[in-house]
Point group: none
Chain length 208, copies 4
């Protein structure tokens, strides 16, 4: 089980000031404000104010408002995909890989509600209208899923006739919907707790 909080910690790029302390504060504030109001309604002044810096200071760390969102998404996504790839490498069984991914996915977003809100609410828009960089991450993530499914088919765990892309979408879509549902829910419950039943349904669905 990964340490939850660090999982989704957003890290400053190497180019930043040594400490990155203010960078981090602005990024955290931005995620909170984006989560509360949505990217377009959020004002840079809100972010600065929440981060406890002057408006202009934001622009010492980020080129513009869009870059703040992109940084938040990309950093978290990057970290997640890298951790996921590393962990999967040490798991031989394809079904176990998917089960592990389900846990990681729901744990990562379940441990940082603001980030989860931003991912569920802004990621699709950003994939379409902002830098398509974030979409690359998505493709990479789905690539991990597809790889595991392919291996599962080869090793006889999953039905070989299933279209691998559709299967991956089912897996990802189910997890994604769990997060959306959790984000929109007013009552709090541990998101990762739903990983097993979801994995169960999908793995069973993929199996023979």
């Amino acid at each position: 089980m990964p340490k939850k909080d660090e999982e989704t910690q957003i890290q400053p790029p190497a180019s930043s000031r040594a400490t990155g302390e203010k960078y981090q504060r602005i990024l955290d504030a931005a995620v909170a404000v984006f989560a509360e109001k949505g990217f377009h309604v959020a004002r840079v002044a809100d972010i600065a104010s929440k981060a406890g810096v002057a408006d202009g200071t934001v622009y010492l760390y980020f080129k513009n408002k869009e870059e703040i969102l992109m940084s938040a998404i990309n950093t978290a996504f990057d970290a997640f995909v890298n951790r996921a790839r590393a962990e999967l490498a040490s798991i031989p069984s394809p079904p176990d890989k998917l089960r592990r991914l389900a846990h990681m996915h729901l744990s990562a977003l379940g441990s940082n509600r603001n980030l989860a809100v931003v991912f569920q609410m802004e990621l699709r828009q950003s994939a379409r209208f902002l830098a398509p960089f974030s979409h690359e991450h998505m493709i990479e993530y789905l690539g991990l899923v597809r790889e595991a499914i392919r291996q599962g088919q080869e090793q006889g765990f999953f039905r070989p006739d299933l279209n691998e892309k559709i299967a991956a979408n089912c897996f990802f879509g189910a997890l994604d919907e769990m997060v959306t549902s959790w984000v929109l829910a007013s009552n709090e419950y541990p998101l990762e707790g739903t990983a097993e039943p979801v994995a169960n349904v999908i793995l069973h669905g993929l199996g023979k």
Copy 2:
């Protein structure tokens, strides 16, 4: 097989039947513009221009920009849920109900790409930040799915230990991801064509 094009036709409210033609033109233009630029970036002037009316005319039919989006979403959602409810009533087998829903879902959005884009890109935002009315539709739709699942459990088609809400999320999430994936794809393919394999995976996953 449902008649595709009419499925997602947005209907004017009874009060403006007389002028329905212009109402409809504005709504269609709005969906196209929202699909192209996203709600926040779209300008009311774009919509008016695309609808071939003056800016001010838009406000004779809609209170404000937000109401245009809400009308588009609600009208389409309403129509879809009503049709879905009606169709499901005539299908006795719970698995067949879900299979039918998958077809309707993917057919409805697959037949109107602009509307699909708006649903996939704007619905979540609107559920959170705009009138939560659209979320009601979502709950209603998921209610249909849950009902079918519950019946399937009662009738022994599906595993009785599955949490019905989670199962519904898996079903809906898988379909939703197929649409998102289709919307973001550059190459064109018939969305409804993926209904069978997706239903297959999920139904198999729910089964014993």
Copy 3:
């Protein structure tokens, strides 16, 4: 002798509203504000306020602040050069042409102090940093001067060994400096009144 006030009237482009009334008010206000503060220090809000319109209204008539300045300069310059060309055509004697140009030059700017200030203070900058269009006018104007000088040389009025471009610069420079000097002077005096003595010096200087 031309009617002074109409000489420097700035006219709206054909594309404008039929009346151009507001266009004209904004342009006049802009010239006054630019004259008072200089282009960069002048705020669009100053112009709008002085014109008695809302800030946004300015942008219904001009693309941006720079275009306001360019319009003011180009319109006045255009009108001047066209009038000058027309008048010169009816004057056979080259020295009389230059004498007439001196009067027109000083009369045009002497009848609209704000415009004169803008020309003397902003024209050079605009020639360098803004659209070089205004510089084209300058070249056109100097072309008229050079043409008259060339004719004067051919007809034996002026020394044939004088470089025509340098001679034109002397003529224009002398007039220009009279305007600058008049603009910077605190005491008021009729600018056109200096046309004769200036023309006298330069024409004498060009003569044999």
Copy 4:
């Protein structure tokens, strides 16, 4: 013939002789940046960067951005007027004085294009909107010209009926226009080379 390069060298005030080197570097950088972008568009950071110092360092030598421009203009103007006064004192003939001034004027600016650009583009603005100190220099310079003209009239070289101020403006205006024309020209040519013909025209114009 004067030594060209030193002519327009900007000197630090006595108080900062010790650190004159950095003072000078900032001033030179400022002139270059002002010449390139114009005073208002130039950023202090540009100047600091070009001078190879930190932004804050600029403020150890100058009170503000405006003072940098004023210092550059005043220092160069001061040096020029002093040299001019000294040289004229040793020239007995009024026409020769003017001829010498023409050479000095065009040589001084012709030997430092950046400074020439700043003088031609920014001096008028600064005379009006910034410290009127630079205007004092102008009056002083024109005073030298007027003095020479007056002497020329008394000694019978120039027509006695000419208004001395207008005559001085013709002289200065012609030179000034030569500089402006040279600054705006894309092709390079030695500015001082135009001193003789210009002086020729004006002196002839002033003569009997």
